[in-house]
Amino acid sequence: MNAILTVENLFKQFPIAGSKQVVQAVNDVSFSIQPGETLGLVGESGSGKTTVGRCIIGLLEPSAGAIYFKGRPISGRRGSRRDLTGKVQFVFQEPAESLDPRMKIGQSINEPLLPMKLDRTMRQQKTLEAIRLVRLDPDMLDGYPAELSAGQQQRVGIARAMVTHPELVVLDEPTSALDPTARAEIIDLLQRIQAERDTAYLFISHDLSTVRFISHRVAVMYLGMIVEQGDAQEVFNRPHHPYASGLLSSVLLPHPHLKIESSVSLKGEIPSPINLPKGCFLASRCPFVIDRCRTQMPPMSIVDDGHFVHCFRHEDVAASVPPSDTFVAFMREAERVLSRRTSTDPSTQVHSH
């Protein structure tokens, strides 16, 4: 299959003013996304996941490496984003900040269509289609962002991204500023749109629970590097990288008895990306560390078809806890607990208006 997006050996450095040092935000990142696929990009603050997203949408120019959209370069000297109008869109974390408060909702949704040489009627039609797609009342097109709840604002953000029928959408923490109910609705919406339109998503998030259920594949970033990448279920059930394992064990599922087991408990914090250590970036925090890790960067090992990891001891890490699908166990439990009803059968309930 032909990938929608291919990222090859991407590097991004930021100079530090008044110093010769640089921040190594992204270090040799490679991945691809197929049509209709969601790649979850997870990691803590400072892992470089947002920088990767920004390079893809063209807000940042990579320091080295290449980004291809359907096989054509879109970054660097050889690259051009000219034919890309409307094909790659994005949704940011803070819905309120990404909408112009003085612009009507309709204008905001309509804006990405302006460079597309469509007539006014066509644009109006597409705007209307987009607001219906996100299940908002078309009457809201004449309103302003401040009149909407955070969840509704994020729906507008999604309508604005989807109005051009993009083939790829970069979603940078689209739900982390929202309440649980609004978050769940946004996730439903994104999945429904993907099923209808075969849109590919790069879903950047630190919410592993959501990533587990929305992603087909997942890439785990640490200090600018993808340390493990593979099928979402496989990586979550049997992580091979100690960082992936430790990160998963920090997830608190809303069930008092379900906890993701791990032999790694991460102490301390992500080190500074200014002076990167020589060997494995996790060596200082890793319980599996051996001498080699401190001097040598572990090469990429293939665990399985499409499952890669950078760790000398990945087999030991994977074998240290029995594989288990705690997320699915949680879902089964939720079904058990939440399917009980009172003697009052809601299907026969009388609606009083």
Binding site: A184, D188, G246, F327, P346, H351, S352
Partner: protein, 326 residues
Amino acid sequence: MPETSAAPLIAVRDLRVEFPGANASKEVLKRVSLTVQPGEILGLVGESGAGKTTLARSILGVPPTSGRIAAGEVIFEGRNILDLPEPELRKLRGSRLSIVVPNPRAELNPTMTVGKQIAAMARIHLGVDRAQAARMALAMLSDVHIPDPQRRMNAYPHELSGGMAQRVVIAMALICNPAFIISDDATSGLDVTVQAQILSLLGGLAADHGSAMLFITRDIGIAAHFCDRVAVLYSGEIMELAPREELFLKPAHPYTLMLLAAFSHSPKLRDAWRVAETGARQIRDGGCSYANRCPLAQPVCSDGRPPFAEIRPGHFARCHFPVSHE
């Protein structure tokens, strides 16, 4: 779980807080009552706008700007905090009662080293001398697992990461060994691995010092693993209160079930526990405040406020038709 019959450390009774408006004032907390036992961690969950922060601040006698405590009392160590004169109250806050808030950098003084800020709490509240306060601050910094505490004493807030600054704020909150700590979403905005460390730190310190805690959070996952009992706040009212396992395994209030369903990743369960906005009933004064969103609502729900009834020992729900798990 502490015995509920034991004397509570803190008791909030019928607390009402209003925000005055142009025509009518808005009731943000509607007769909220809760108790926390010595050594207990009580979780308080709810969505934005439920009144969580208003409750936290009102318990300390400082409702948010423009808020007004209309009725109720907060009994702590035998005295009603809401009746205390400001100087008395100020003595209590920070020494016997303290609060940890999110966005720690905004709480710290940017022009003062963190060591001095922590020590200042001990000097003001415990009356110890400068050298003793500095020693206590240093010990506290190492208690909150800050690496190289000697050096960090002289650091300014901007030199710290978010997780580190949160630890400093916790150190300030705990240095006087308070009997009661309120954590108001203190771990939101932190990464999960840092959050895990901060939670185990807070839990450990509270246990070591025998402090009780009101742990306010939007993340019900934290409540499921960290709290002894959990209260669910909706629209200024406590809708359900139960021991942790009961609440998560036998939730009774339809709002609690809706919240749990939002985390279930199952669209089917979510649909089962929510009412489409267009089908929402009108909410009437005096009725259940959740009636307009409740899939189990009956005519009676719009007419009468349900009592906060004990449906099983220690498990309370404010609902005419609590969900039964028998």
